[in-house]
């Protein structure tokens, strides 16, 4: 597998990726809850969010959506002040002290992964995972794969909370991913199973892979037809 590179051609230290096995996902929403408990965003905002799609075959498939940490992130290129940036491991981060709150990145993100702090900071609660758990008013925030946890060899709260162990995280440079129970070779996993990335045709190079199988076949069908987006049916209200 080709090593991931950022736009300036420097090899990243790690190349964090997420793999979500839709065959295992039941759409229970525990990843959402764990994420909210850890990060404490404004009510209704879900950095990790479970979508539900009606597939062309008529099935309803859950589809958890973190930030895709795109390798060619539209939010990074469109930011007027360089508040969006890739860190040394290719994670797309937001400089909350620089963001001017124009919300151009929210328009640019095709995944709807970005949220705006519409009001003043919330009371601090939840485990911080080594991140400053503060939300300044008037800036944009989003999922960041809880990268300090990854660096310590830990999994993010969403992956830990998943009762089906459907969420894997790993390093594409070392070609491994783990869900906490099993550790797999990423390239083998992706070649053996049917996999896709969301809106691949846009060329954003997202770093979240979805695995499909017999049960979630419809999702793959949907992906094949993804230029034509189906209507959505939210699982969790």
């Amino acid at each position: 597998m080709e090593n991931a590179r950022d736009n300036s051609g420097i090899k990243w230290r790690y190349d964090w990726v997420m793999v979500i096995d839709l065959e295992k996902c039941e759409g229970c929403g525990l990843c959402e809850e764990a994420c909210i408990a850890a990060h404490n965003p404004l009510p209704g905002q879900k950095w990790m969010k479970v979508y539900a799609f009606e597939t062309p075959t008529g099935d309803i498939s859950p589809l958890p959506r973190p930030c895709m940490q795109c390798q060619k992130a539209p939010c990074v290129s469109i930011c007027p002040v360089g508040a969006n940036y890739y860190n040394q491991d290719g994670i797309v981060l937001i400089d909350k002290d620089r963001c001017i709150g124009c919300r151009m990145c929210m328009a640019a993100c095709p995944y709807g992964a970005r949220y705006f702090n519409w009001r003043a900071p919330l009371p601090k609660k939840g485990e911080s995972h080594g991140l400053e758990n503060i939300h300044p008013v008037g800036v944009v925030e989003k999922c960041m794969f809880c990268y300090p946890a990854l660096e310590k060899g830990d999994l993010p709260p969403c992956a830990k909370a998943c009762p089906m162990k459907a969420i894997y995280l790993g390093d594409r440079n070392q070609d491994i991913v783990t869900n906490g129970e099993e550790t797999l070779k990423l390239s083998k996993l992706l070649s053996e199973r049917d996999s896709f990335r969301l809106f691949e045709e846009l060329g954003t190079e997202p770093k979240v892979y979805y695995l499909t199988g017999e049960r979630s076949r419809g999702c793959l069908e949907w992906r094949k037809a993804s230029r034509f987006l189906p209507p959505s049916y939210p699982l969790s209200p």
């Binding site: 209704g44 905002q45 539209p74 002040v81 919300r103 705006f116 702090n117 008037g138």
Partner: protein, 424 residues
């Protein structure tokens, strides 16, 4: 030189002020204060007080932004393009168009700042600005256009300021000081005239491409995203023509008000309304043509994502706004085309209808696309502007009127020297 009776006529509003003017100023000031109060609340509590949320995150402010920046294209179209075409009849109305340009730019440029989450960090655009971002393109082109159009307003104003300096001995000391300083020792010398003529000619040529870039990059804020209804190559010209349309309509409206209020019937004649009416008709038809292009192509393909936006326009939640827009774009064609309704009042009504339609059109471009994002969401996709947004919108329109009203008492509304020249 200039003709004395023309100068006296045109300078009358600068000498005499009626009680109606003070009532108008008080009314507009009240509107501005109302908006300022709403903005104070927004600053202290965050954008939570607006109706905007994570899906529909741009609303009235961005609609106003596109609308006012659009209006600002009027001055350049009328003044520069007609100057280049050497249309003599333009002379009594160019000044008003140039005023509208500058004032609309001030008010329009304010809108994205009002929309900003962190106005306290606005200077980051200077410190950390990245040329890759459409926001920075906007920042550059709007500030360039503002400087350019202020220069373009000022240059033909210099001889008139000298006339004010020479004739208005009875006004306040502050005004006399302004005329004295700004007229830059204008003495009607041949050398001065030659330099001024050259300067105006250079600005006339420069300002046209600047104007075109402005609304093009405004449209690129939308077009350079992966969103159905925005991602379209027609957006640049679509926005520029829309801007010319609403700008022209605003100038016609302003002309009618000034003509009535200051009794300038002698200078602003029916022929001006007629010619502008024809121009409005032509630009309106061009805009409708572009609109058909835009909706016909995506409407024929009816890809699922585009279909979500289009069906909300054609028969869904936004149908009433969309069809109202279409109706209000088509109706003025008949008002202007039919000789019986092609009166000053008829053309004024057509202009007002066009402007309402153009404001709604911007709303219909912005909100339905945001309501149908690429990833459908379980959030409630309804955007209802809050009273804060409404108040700031009212305040913006009042502020626009206030700026023009104040300027109409400071500087002549009609170019005295140019009108004198053409009457000689």
């Amino acid at each position: 030189m200039y003709r004395r009776e023309v100068a006296e006529d045109i300078l009358r509003p600068l000498r005499v002020t009626t009680w109606r003017y003070y009532v108008l100023i008080a009314f507009l000031l009240l509107g501005v204060l109302f908006g300022a109060y709403a903005y104070y609340i927004q600053i202290t509590s965050g954008l939570i007080v607006t109706g905007l949320r994570d899906n529909i995150f741009w609303g009235l402010y961005i609609t106003n932004f596109v609308f006012f920046i659009g209006i600002s294209h009027a001055g350049t179209l009328i003044s520069a393009v007609l100057r280049l075409a050497r249309a003599e009849w333009r002379k009594p109305v160019t000044r008003m168009a140039e005023y509208i340009t500058v004032m609309a730019l001030f008010v329009g440029g304010l809108q994205p700042l009002i929309d900003l989450g962190r106005i306290d960090r606005i200077l980051n655009i200077l410190f950390y600005g990245r040329i890759q971002s459409p926001i920075v393109w906007d920042f550059i082109s709007i500030t360039t256009y503002l400087v350019g159009s202020m220069t373009y307003l000022y240059l033909p104003l210099i001889p008139d300021l000298a006339i004010c300096r020479d004739l208005l001995g009875d006004v306040s000391g502050f005004k006399r000081w302004i005329y004295e300083k700004l007229s830059m020792n204008w003495r009607w010398g041949d050398g001065q005239r030659a330099v001024l003529g050259k300067a105006i000619a250079i600005m006339t040529v420069l300002i046209v491409p600047i104007m075109i870039t402005v609304h093009t990059v405004v449209s690129w804020i939308f077009a350079m995203t992966f969103r159905a209804g925005w991602r379209s190559t027609i957006f640049g010209i679509y926005f520029v023509v829309g801007a010319l349309l609403s700008g022209l309509a605003t100038v016609i409206t302003f002309m009618a008000i000034v003509r009535k209020a200051y009794r300038f019937e002698k200078y602003i004649r029916y022929e001006h309304f007629k010619y502008f009416g024809y121009l409005l008709l032509a630009v309106d038809l061009f805009y409708i043509y572009l609109m058909i292009n835009e909706y016909q192509v995506s409407g024929y393909l009816w890809s699922r994502h585009e279909a979500a936006v289009l069906s909300s326009l054609y028969g869904g939640k936004y149908a009433i706004y969309f069809w109202a827009t279409v109706f209000m774009l088509v109706a003025p064609i008949f008002i202007i085309a039919i000789p019986r309704t092609r009166t000053i009042n008829g053309i004024l009504v057509a202009s007002i209808i066009v402007n309402i339609s153009m404001w709604l059109k911007r709303y219909v471009i912005i909100v339905p696309t945001l309501a149908n994002p690429p990833m459908p969401s379980s959030f409630i996709m309804i955007y209802t502007p809050s009273w804060i947004e409404a108040a700031i919108t009212i305040g913006s329109f009042c502020g626009f009127g206030l700026l023009i009203a104040i300027f109409s008492k400071l500087f002549p509304l009609i170019s005295i020297w140019e009108v004198s020249e053409s009457e000689e």
